[in-house]
Chain length 477, copies 2
């Protein structure tokens, strides 16, 4: 494919890259767009697999699987592609095992496990405190938030040690961290955690299955209760045109010169006028850039760890209670019948060369303070997409789509501004404008002392909270 | 160079790679060794440059420049290569400017700036506390140290917020962090900081110019007061043989199969029986490994940020007082004469593609807890060198040499054990053996309460400390 020329090249055929390409095409059909994908499939961190189940072969999501009614970008795309959603199944017996192998295994059928009143109080106060902090955080410019520098200098673990009284709540929050980020609380900047919560509209939304929360809905084909999220990418790729999505083409070099941009892949070189890099940041770090990336952006691409999650799916002849159980603990948790399964399937995302981990690149302490301004800032004609760069539901499917569309708008604003409305142009330009020098929050440490006498007030808060949110239902697995 | 075969290929011709290659050759002259280097020079993060000065052209270190009498590996190498050392010049006026642009500029000619008694007390207590913690840390297996998990879950900044009373000491320690790591305290795991100090024999050694400390000596040619540290690599490369050190050969892929290992570079492919990767971890992350690295090692190579330091050298007709001044602040700090210089030279290591930052890859919170076991653990026939993997003066020139030699011994133990003594073999095997399951330090949080009444005791400690260490002389620039 040497010497081919395109207007825009998109690196990565996950949801972000494909959304960017589709947006470009739709806004300006004259633009020639090419999507380059290292793997032999589209979809990135979403992949749906045919697995034998009780009612014959069914499709199962081995990666990102949930969407939510509050996620406007993905809901719009689902509608546009003629797909549908159905609610996550949450009925029946749930297993709750936290606190190490020796801890008691609890089962429950309500929306959350039972806790002691003290644990419940501690948990509620914690969530209230985190939510209050989350509300003060700007996702677009997190360093402008109150106490930003202080919160970015500590880990989520440090915050937990300071503000949680009970061992059980510490263990529960650590579990939440593993579920949401695939990482331990000691590995994550507390400010990043707040920013991530804010991008989802609140911490509880990261955990719950209730309307508007992150685990609310799954994606299906019309009139069937199956399908999976990879369909979004497959259908997008069809719309873009299969000849415009090149598989097996891993990008190795992006070389910008005064004339054009040369993008070299394992399968040859193409030239173009703008590039959208839409892969996880740690994979963007494996590309060689000429000229080299600015130091700030380089630090960002090199240093964002990605979580580590594995997914197991086991199908059974009787499907009611055991659908989502984890294989290694099945017999222990569900009894000896768990061993007579139809099919066992596992997916370790860390072993996928072109993903390398799951679900998202997170930020360690100090990253936001020193490198955040380069997260979405284009490097000349290279633009950055991927769910890591999203401001709405970053880390989620919705974030991938939003970020891809935002990067496409940046390219359009640069190459053919007439394809955008006045408001859209203003929005792109405003977001590209160098952020104002952030307020110096140094020295303003936030000390939130706990008075023992506050317990009475707190108890009242718990009561009010539970009355207001009877549906409080965490999703633990 | 296609189809060439060697016994061992070393990736990187910095001090670590060259030390590894030399050790292999010396222990077994039958072994064929090839060193592959991406740049057009040897030396990695050490580079000495000819710059015009008052007495004609002189050589100046633009990267790593100090060695110490306590650094046995580099001192031995210096002697072996027929080079010499001379003490770092510390006399005359020093400039001390901490606390932001508005802060007062202090000058002093003693070994350290003057502080108020309270600041001095705070500083001394802090150093005493850190040194006590450092003494408890195992560099080989940091997670076996007391409170390891707790200390790895917090940043150096969190520790500072907890244990420093005065703003001035906070600012001084932040400055130390910038000088030693090229990073802010909020970006570094506190346990990593302790481990790094322990590998140097104590925190003060990271800062001082006194005998045994990190900034004690510089490297020179016999009978001249010049030379620089790059000579170490140049002379090593000569000993190894220029045809065995291939420049301009950036490694892109390391493919291990049952027969041999294929190492692909920008200039062709070689095969071998073992590989030593001796580049900074974030550059090792840019190599493609087949089969892929284990997840743990992959996380480590992807996620260790590297510091950001720039070096300025300005030469003057009269050289006494201004030798080490920083160009951007010269006139402000030293008066208008500072503007009449002979030569200005700067080096931004972040802009060097094959270094990408300076001085060292550090660890963020949680990295030691979850990934340390893979730091030196060979991946089949791929061994890991580089100063990041050292246990003595890691991050320093000495660490590079020690790590290179250690990796060479691992390869020898695998390929030709008869070239090692019984004791050496035992040592290699012991260090390769899977570490014992570390003690569970969870929940044992270290609470070091400060009682106001302790001030009297503390004051006595300060007095004793200063009496015992009259040479206490921090190096601030």
């Amino acid at each position: 494919m040497s010497e081919e020329h395109f207007d825009v090249v998109v690196v990565g055929a996950g949801l972000s890259g494909l959304s960017a390409a589709r947006r470009l095409q739709k806004r300006n059909p004259q633009l020639s767009v090419l999507v380059l994908e290292a793997r032999d499939r589209v979809g990135g961190r979403t992949v749906s697999k045919d697995l034998p189940a009780a009612n014959g072969v069914d499709q199962w999501d081995m990666g990102g699987q949930w969407v939510s009614s509050s996620q406007t970008h993905v809901m719009e795309l689902i509608q546009e592609l003629g797909l549908e959603v159905f609610p996550q199944y949450t009925k029946g017996k749930k297993v709750h095992h936290v606190g190490g192998p020796q801890a008691k295994i609890k089962t429950y059928t309500t929306s959350m496990p039972s806790y002691s009143p003290l644990t419940m109080l501690d948990f509620t106060l914690l969530l209230w405190r985190i939510d209050r902090l989350t509300q003060g955080v700007s996702v677009e410019d997190p360093m402008s938030s109150p106490n930003a520098e202080l919160y970015d200098s500590m880990t989520l673990h440090t915050f937990m040690e300071k503000h949680i009284w009970t061992t059980q709540v510490k263990e529960e929050l650590a579990l939440c961290s593993r579920i949401v980020f695939g990482m331990e609380p000691s590995q994550i900047s507390f400010l990043y955690f707040l920013m991530y919560s804010a991008a989802a509209g609140g911490t509880l939304r990261l955990l719950e299955t209730t309307p508007g929360s992150g685990q609310e809905l799954k994606v299906k084909v019309r009139e069937k209760d199956k399908g999976g999220t990879q369909q979004l990418s497959k259908k997008l790729a069809e719309q873009i045109g299969k000849e415009r999505v090149r598989l097996g083409a891993a990008v190795t070099t992006i070389c910008q010169n005064s004339e054009n941009i040369k993008v070299t892949t394992s399968a040859g070189t193409v030239t173009c006028k703008a590039v959208i890099v839409a892969c996880p940041t740690h994979l963007a770090a494996q590309i060689r850039y000429e000229p080299a990336l600015p130091a700030e952006r380089q630090s960002l691409t090199h240093c964002l760890p990605i979580g580590h999650m594995m997914k197991f799916i086991v199908t059974y002849p009787t499907m009611e209670e055991r659908r989502d159980a984890v294989i290694s603990s099945l017999v222990k948790y569900l009894g000896p019948e768990a061993s007579t399964y139809i099919h066992y399937e596992e997916k370790d995302w860390a072993k996928e060369e072109w993903t390398g981990g799951c679900p998202v690149n997170v930020m360690t302490p100090g990253m936001l303070t020193y490198y955040h301004p380069s997260l979405r800032k284009p490097f000349d004609r290279i633009h950055w997409a991927g769910t890591e760069t999203a401001t709405q539901w970053c880390g989620y499917i919705n974030g991938a789509i939003q970020a891809g569309q935002r990067a496409a708008m940046e390219v359009l604003a640069q190459m053919c501004p007439s394809s955008l409305s006045r408001e859209e142009l203003d929005a792109v330009r405003a977001s590209l404008k160098q952020r104002k020098k952030r307020k110096d929050s140094k020295g303003k440490s936030c000390k939130c002392y706990y008075l023992f006498g506050a317990v009475m007030t707190a108890a009242a808060v718990v009561a009010a909270y539970l009355l207001a949110k009877p549906e409080l239902g965490f999703k633990w697995i």
